[in-house]
């Protein structure tokens, strides 16, 4: 691998990214930045509780921001970095124990979140694909079915949430995000080398609280608009295949 390096310094960066420790530091860094994205995304979503016009206004402002494509590319890069390095590390970890145990119990240190990182990760990936396809690219063609509401993202989202299967999938997927974060946040801090006898227990609880908040925040929308606030739907989004 040294032969491909332009200089000693670029060699070191390459070595860092290929190393077991460097790889996980990059996965952790991308993960923490993605947490930042989750916060901004959730803040925007919660405008749905303020009302349709507020949410639509926010969506409009976002879509017409000339910097949006740059941010989207950055986000895509973060996701790819996180996913590709995680998958590579996971495959390497499987290869590190070619012959498994007949009985493997451990000593109870693993958490439900840590056990399921790969599963929840793949669930989140599947969700993101469906999520972007339906909400951003309008696959499934729900947009503009309501006369006079062609441009309303609010009506569009409500249309999807009216489908109980879609709403359930949404809740399940953000549950996966919560599980993923319950291990991910504290694990990322440990990977950065943040481990202190006084602060680490508090940071672990903070990570768990963050995971719960993210789950409750995102899940509140499909639960409220999909199951409790359906009455309003009749007025603004008649949906084929809905549960009426």
């Amino acid at each position: 691998m040294e032969a491909n390096c332009a200089s000693k310094r670029s060699c070191r960066i390459f070595e860092f990214l290929e190393s077991s420790i460097g790889k996980k530091i990059m996965v952790a860094a991308a993960g923490i930045l993605l947490c930042g994205f989750l916060v901004t995304h959730l803040a925007g979503n919660l405008l749905m509780f303020v009302g349709g016009p507020a949410f639509d206004h926010y969506a409009e402002a976002l879509v017409h921001n000339p910097l949006l494509p740059v941010a989207e590319l950055g986000l895509l890069a973060l996701f790819l970095l996180h996913i590709v390095l995680s998958i590579r590390a996971t495959l390497a970890n499987r290869a590190a124990r070619p012959e498994g145990y007949q009985v493997y119990k451990g000593k109870g240190a693993r958490t439900p979140g840590s056990r399921t990182m790969a599963v929840t990760g793949l669930l989140i990936l599947a969700f993101i694909i469906v999520h972007v396809a339906t909400f951003k690219y309008d696959v499934g063609g729900l947009k503009g079915q309501v006369a006079g509401q062609e441009e309303s993202l609010f009506a569009h989202v409500l249309g999807w949430f009216a489908n109980p299967w879609y709403a359930l999938f949404y809740v399940l997927a953000v549950g996966g995000v919560g599980f993923h974060l319950s291990h991910g946040v504290q694990s990322a801090l440990q990977t950065f080398g943040v481990n202190h006898p006084r602060y680490t227990p508090a940071l672990k609880r903070l990570g768990l609280a963050f995971a719960v908040l993210i789950f409750v925040g995102f899940a509140s929308l499909p639960v409220y608009f999909g199951f409790f606030h359906k009455a309003d739907l009749a007025c603004c989004a008649p949906v084929e295949g809905g549960s009426k």
């Binding site: 070191r12 070595e15 860092f16 190393s19 077991s20 420790i21 460097g22 790889k23 996980k24 530091i25 590390a89 390497a92 970890n93 290869a95 590190a96 124990r97 070619p98 012959e99 498994g100 145990y101 007949q102 009985v103 493997y104 119990k105 451990g106 000593k107 109870g108 240190a109 693993r110 840590s114 990182m117 291990h183 504290q186 694990s187 440990q190 990977t191 950065f192 080398g193 943040v194 481990n195 202190h196 006898p197 680490t200």
Partner: protein, 248 residues
């Protein structure tokens, strides 16, 4: 009491292996787990069968030689104990116990329950030392070391290299071992001149041996017979990052 064992038997690395069931009679609570295996071997030899191969040396928990996966737990169910420190009073008559070798690509199987852990020696040889002639014992207070630093270094240095961290890790990662060895020098003044060189070399040796990545599952810490803390891995990560950035 009688104990039924399901033990991994495998002639050599190339031969296929399987769990074989034996009943060991005459087990008393005062026996250590290894003495119970000795008893099994005496009974196997008496029957003219091939005795079970397993590692042990000091049998007092300080050499790091014994290494068994007992009912899916590295060194068995006790906390901060090696296999030799596990006693049969933990079990009762008629118990069924599964015994397997430590499993990792970096620990290739030799025979039955014996694995080759020389990967740890190679990692240690890559940088786990101080390159200086220390001569005779110097004046103890010539180099002043704060008490808490000395304690932390000693805690890290209490690693006996048994490999339980690797065996218990869902990813077969050797990070706790390497972290302990890097930490014991990084914390002391004598380790400073080679601080960066050491962590870079030991990380490289660790990856070369085919151990997995740490995903902070904390199973290594729970399995470690010497109570090495995961905070050492955080230090290893810091040391590695620092060395990557600082080395010219």
């Amino acid at each position: 009491m009688n104990i039924t064992l399901k033990v991994w038997r495998q002639k050599n690395a190339a031969a296929p292996g399987a769990l074989v069931e034996y009943t060991v009679s005459g087990v008393v609570p005062e026996m250590s787990f290894l003495e119970m295996l000795d008893t099994l071997n005496e009974q196997l030899i008496a029957k003219g069968e091939d005795p079970l191969a397993f590692d042990s040396d000091c049998r007092e928990g300080i050499c790091g030689m014994c290494n068994l996966m007992i009912d899916g737990q590295a060194h068995g169910p006790d906390k901060e104990a090696t296999t030799c420190q596990l006693h049969m009073r933990r079990y009762k008559d008629g118990d069924v116990v599964t015994v397997e070798p430590f499993r990792a690509k970096g620990f290739p199987l030799v025979k039955d329950l014996v694995v080759d852990r020389s990967a740890f020696d190679r990692i240690q040889a890559a940088g786990g030392f101080v390159s200086t002639h220390t001569g005779g014992a110097g004046e103890a207070n010539a180099i002043l070391i704060p008490h808490d630093m000395a304690e932390k270094a000693m805690d890290a240095a209490s690693c006996i290299g048994c490999g339980a961290c690797v065996a218990a890790c869902p990813n077969a990662s050797a990070m706790l071992f390497v972290a302990a060895k890097v930490s014991q020098y990084a914390l002391l003044p004598q380790g400073q001149p080679e601080r960066e060189k050491r962590v870079l070399a030991m990380r490289e040796a660790m990856d070369k041996e085919g151990f997995g990545h740490c995903t902070n599952e904390y199973e290594c810490e729970a399995a470690c017979p010497k109570g090495i803390k995961l905070s050492n891995i955080a230090r290893l990560n810091r040391e590695f990052l620092r060395a990557t950035l600082l080395t010219e």
